[in-house]
Every structure is written in C-alpha cells, then in structure tokens.
C-alpha cells in the first residue's frame, strides 16, 4: 500500500516517525505552514520556519524516500498579532511561488476576529492572483459559522471553489462545504477532531461525495504512525471499477493541474516535462504494465528502483510531482468534490 498524506506537520515529527511512515508506505506528503504551539514574536523566526519547510524538512523526508511538498501562509492564530502579521504577509510572495509550494495555507479563522479576516483576505487575493490552491484551517470554536464565513469570503475574493480545501470538517459542517463545490477535508484525530469510526460512518453516508482524510502529524498527542483502526477504515471504501478509476485519474490530474500557479502558460510549454502529464502517463503505464504481468514483478522492480533512487539522491525529491506520486496514491487519501462521480479512491495493484 502506498500513501499520500496531504496534511502533516513534520516540524513536530522525529526521524523515527519518518522511518515508520516510510515503512508504512507513505511516499509523498504536504506540510502546510501553521502555528508552532506558541506564537512567534519575531519576523525572523517566520523566515526561518518557511525556509525549513522548503529546505531542511524536504531534505529530511527525502532521506526516507518521501517526497515533501508544502503550503505557505500566515495562520489565523498569529494573524492576531497585527504588527507582526503585516510583516509576515509581506513575506508570502517571497516564498509562495517556489518549486515545492503547492498551496497557500493553512489560513482562515481561529477566533473569527477582524484581524484574522484581514490576513485571510490578503492571502486569498494573492492565491487568486497567482492561480493557487488555498488550504483553509477551520476554527475549533464556532466551527460551523467559521466555515460558512471562510467559504463566503473566499467566494467574494474571487477564488474558484475547486481551488478551495476546507479542513477539519465534521458531520455538522461537511454539507455546507460540499454544497459550495469546495473540497471537504477531515482530520482524523480521535480526541479532539474526527475519530476513525465516525469517519467511516460519514464515508458511507457521503459515498458519492467529497472528503479527504489524514492520520498523521498533528501537534498534539497521538500515536506515531498508521493505526490499526485507520487501516481497517481505509479498507472500507470499495475499489473503483475501471471506468470509475479512469475518471478518478482525470480528476486527480485536474486537481494537480490546479496546483500550478500559471496553468495556461504551462500548457504551452513542453508537455513532456509537465508533472501532470508525466503523472498521467506513468499512472497509465503502471496500470497497463500491471495488467500485462499478473505477477506484477516488473512494477515491483520499478518501485524498488524509484525508491532506491530517492534514498540515494535527496535532490530527486525537489523535482515536483513526478513518477513518485504515480505509486504513492492509495485508498488512504480520499478526496473529491460534490460534483465528482464518486470518492477518488486509489488502490494500485
């Protein structure tokens, strides 16, 4: 099984965790910028934090065969220190356009204050201007209202709803998000957010709806790697049939396309080098090859090769969405929108 974790804070993870993740099959991750448990007091610490997301954490993950991407943004909690927040917002353009950055995030509301809203709007505008995905952290207190407001404000700023991921949903909030056409994400975090059993029930209920979920990397107390109950839950969504999987393939490619800040100009450039095209090509090749050889030995060898190459060459991971993601997807990453035919469940043979 290969996993893609779309929301994890590696800053609070040790190398042991990376080792366990790698052994469990995690091959690619997205680390959104967030609060570090205590608020920063200096601009320089933000600079170093963003640099670590683009440098050290990326290198650290690559040592375990894990491709590391990140989202850059000023989080809602620290948006309330207005003087510092204004300076941090000026940093965003210096980091957000870099190679490994796949979204603006996590941004949004914590206490739903005017200061939070100003920072949220400024970053939404940046995302719209640069055609980027936005990853929204939803508040824990007054969540339902916070999520509705996040959606309204994003819409008013001109953000396309298919570029918006709202995280930390629960049974009460998911319908609002799906109705607008945004992506609903769930954080599996038994004591405070969604529990695995609740998630499974919700997946059943929303079968043809949208959600993505994740297991790892919260700042708080948790078990280090994939938990048995998660694995059980992961097994629940049915493997999609051929036609449906083809649709999922396109959907995922569409989503990845949405990741780039300038897709029109990119489309003009050499298609062979575009990560999305490469992903599509490799997914198709991997599936065709697996079908040809039932034993799947060739595919296995390729995976082993790719993973060796990654371990030996830290730089290989600084090359965007490439062939690694072709085999890093799995049923563990479930994400779609309301207008999709079904959940994008991935399960490579």
């Amino acid at each position: 099984m290969r996993f893609f974790d779309p929301h994890i804070h590696m800053t609070s993870r040790t190398t042991d965790d990376l080792d366990l993740m790698s052994k469990a099959g995690v091959r690619a991750i997205v680390e959104p910028a967030f609060w570090l448990g205590q608020s920063r007091t200096q601009l320089g610490t933000f600079i170093d934090y963003f640099n670590s997301l683009l440098g050290w954490e990326r290198f650290r993950a690559s040592q375990f065969g894990i491709a590391h991407y990140c989202a850059i943004g000023l989080n809602s909690k620290e948006a309330n220190n207005e003087k510092l927040a204004a300076q941090v917002l000026e940093l965003i353009p210096r980091f957000a356009l870099k190679e490994g950055v796949v979204a603006i995030g996590e941004i949004g509301y914590d206490e739903i204050t005017p200061a939070e809203e100003r920072a949220y709007i400024a970053q939404l505008r940046f995302a719209v201007e640069h055609d980027m995905v936005v990853m929204v952290h939803s508040p824990h207190r007054d969540k339902k209202r916070g999520i509705r407001r996040s959606l309204d404000v994003a819409r008013d700023c001109g953000l396309a709803m298919n570029k918006l991921v709202i995280d930390h949903n629960n049974e009460e909030t998911v319908e609002d998000v799906l109705e607008r056409g945004a992506w609903a994400a769930f954080t599996i975090y038994p004591s405070t957010k969604m529990g695995s059993e609740r998630m499974v029930e919700l997946v059943k209920k929303l079968r043809s709806r949208a959600h993505h979920r994740r297991q790892l990397g919260r700042l708080g107390r948790q078990r280090p790697a994939l938990r048995p109950e998660d694995r059980e839950a992961d097994a629940r969504p049915r493997r999609a049939d051929g036609a449906r999987r083809a649709h999922h393939l396109e959907e995922r490619a569409r989503r990845l396309r949405a990741v780039g800040p300038d897709r029109r100009r990119r489309a003009d450039a050499d298609a062979r080098d575009r990560p999305v095209e490469a992903l599509l090509r490799q997914l198709r090749a991997a599936r065709a090859s697996a079908a040809r050889r039932r034993a799947g030995s060739e595919l296995k060898a390729r995976r082993a090769q790719a993973s060796d190459r990654l371990r030996q060459d830290p730089e290989a991971s600084s090359s965007g969405f490439t062939d690694r993601t072709a085999w890093s997807t799995s049923v563990a990453h479930v994400m779609a929108r309301a207008d999709a035919a079904g959940p994008t469940c991935w399960s490579q043979p």
């Binding site: 600079i47 640099n51 683009l54 440098g55 050290w56 990326r58 290198f59 353009p93 210096r94 980091f95 356009l97 870099k98 190679e99 490994g100 780039g260 800040p261 300038d262 100009r265 990119r266 003009d268 450039a269 050499d270 080098d273 990560p275 030996q312 060459d313 830290p314 730089e315 600084s318 090359s319 965007g320």
Partner: protein
C-alpha cells in the same frame, strides 16, 4: 574567464535544450534583470524558473564539458540541472556583479532560497568577479548538512581549493565524510592534502572503529602520502576487513602512500575479483582522487 563568457556559454547550452516558450520567458526575465530589478523581484524570477524551464539534467556533452573546464579550470557542469543553468544564467545577467549591490542582492536571495535555488546560487559563485567576497558564503554552503547544498558549494568547482584557508579547507574535507558527499569531486583535493588532514581523518577512523561502525571509504582518499606508520596500520586493518568498498579504497590508499611493493604482494593473493581489479589499476598508476569515482555509490556508469 569572465562572468560574461560563462554566461554566453550557458546561454548556448540553454538555447539548445529549452523549449521555445521557456527560452522566450528566460530571455524576458534576463532583460528585466539587465535593466535592474529590486531584490524581491530578482528572487522571484529565480524562483519562477521552476515554472517555466524544462525540468531535468543539463547533460552537457563531452565537448561542452571540455569547454567548461577551459573557461574555468576545475568547473564540471556534468551534474548540473537545467534549472541550475537557467538560474546561473539569470544571475549573471546582472550588470552590477562587481559591485556591493550584487553581493547584497545575492545575500538576500540566500536568505529566502529553497533547496534548488540554494544549489543554483552556490554553483554560480565561482564565476563572479572578486571571489574573496564570497568565501564566507561558500563556507556556509560547506557547513550544510543537506547533501545537495554541500555538493553545490564544494564539488565540481575550483573555488574552495583556491580560496579557503587551511581551517575552512580541512573542515570541508572532513564534513564530506560526514554527509557522505563525494570527496573525489572536490576539485584540487589532491593538491591540498596535509599531515594535519591525515591526522583528523585517522582520528575519525579510530572513532568509527571504536563505535563498531564501518569507516567511510573516502576517508582513505584523505591520507595521500601523509600519516606515516599510523596511516599504514589503519589501511592494512581495512584491507583485512570485510567491507569490499572499503578494501578497494584502502588498496588505492596504499598505492597513494607509495607502498606499491606491498600492494602487488596483496594483489597476487586477492580472492575478490573487484578488489583485485582495483589493486591492479592502482598499480598501473590510477591513483589520483578520480580513481575513487568507481567506488562512488551515487555515481551512474562513468560517461
């Protein structure tokens, strides 16, 4: 070598490799830089290379590598990427490279650079006028534990060997062993070996053996003809060990220490064909730092 001849050379390589749309974008970005841009925009243009340039290795031909070495002795762009070449080409478009404004702008780039940009920036420095202005900066790169960054600062360029003082130089060499970067690619290594370096390497060797950990095979590259009896003892200990890569490296080290008679005795009774082959090539005189290339696990087949 001047910055502008290197830029011209890189431009030729890029024009032949970039798709038309990317080349057009690069041209526009370079023109903007030539006209003068503020530091934020300068850094932004370097970042945007990843959106427009083709992704992949620069893959210079043998003739192009020879031309590179001609432009700057010790410069080997063999492992450069297209992004790096494009970013270097953009940096070299600045009109103020000999002034402090360029140093300040570059320092600002370093402060906000991701790994790919860091590598490109470090690889560009050897072409800039007034090398001494950048010695500290390259030293920073050589202190990095991100192997790609270390390599960009230390390897395939003559900068460190010609600019570093002894302390910085020795730290660079020993650091390579720690981050497992390819020391054989540090241009000028053979010319700056010393008793003090050999002592540091042998202390490290003792540490590794006390900890029951394998000795990095490139440690044997650091001795040269230095280290006396202590070095020979350490080499002999490696040769009776079980680590094939270490034994091959120690065999070359024995030749480098001038003990050819002893090496031919050992070669005569060597059972491992790979080790014997290395011993024989060392006896034939292949004992410069480049002889360690075949032992480099990250190296594809030599081209």
């Amino acid at each position: 070598m001047t910055a502008s001849t290197v830029r011209e050379f890189l431009g030729t390589l890029l024009r032949e490799r970039e798709p038309a749309a990317a080349w057009t974008w690069l041209g526009g970005a370079a023109a903007e830089i030539e006209r003068g841009v503020d530091p934020v925009r300068f850094g932004g243009l370097l970042s945007l290379v990843s959106r427009y340039s083709r992704r992949g290795p620069l893959a210079p031909t043998a003739a192009e590598r020879a031309r590179a070495d001609e432009l700057l002795r010790g410069w080997n762009p063999e492992r450069w990427t297209l992004f790096e070449a494009a970013r270097a080409w953009l940096v070299l478009a600045r009109r103020d490279l000999d002034r402090t404004s360029a140093v300040d702008a570059l320092e600002e780039c370093y402060a906000y650079a991701d790994v790919g940009e860091l590598c490109a920036l470090y690889k560009t420095i050897p072409f800039l006028p007034g090398a001494a202005r950048f010695t500290w900066r390259i030293g920073e790169g050589c202190r990095s534990s991100m192997r790609a960054v270390y390599e960009a600062a230390a390897c395939d360029s003559p900068f460190a060997a010609s600019q570093f003082d002894d302390l910085a130089w020795r730290q660079l060499v020993i650091k390579a062993l720690f981050v497992e970067a390819p020391l054989w690619r540090v241009h000028g290594l053979d010319g700056r070996l010393s008793e003090e370096l050999a002592r540091m390497a042998l202390d490290l060797c003792d540490e590794r053996r006390s900890a029951h950990r394998p000795v990095q095979h490139e440690l044997w590259l650091v001795l040269g003809k230095h280290g006396g009896a202590r070095a020979l003892q350490a080499i002999e200990a490696e040769l009776v060990g079980t680590n094939a890569r270490g034994r091959r490296a120690a065999a070359i080290a024995l030749a480098r220490a001038g003990k050819l008679q002893r090496l031919s005795e050992l070669a005569a009774k060597e059972a491992d064909p790979a080790v014997r082959a290395t011993m024989e090539s060392a006896l034939r005189g292949e004992l410069s730092q480049l002889a360690f290339r075949v032992l480099d696990p990250s190296e594809a087949k030599p081209s």
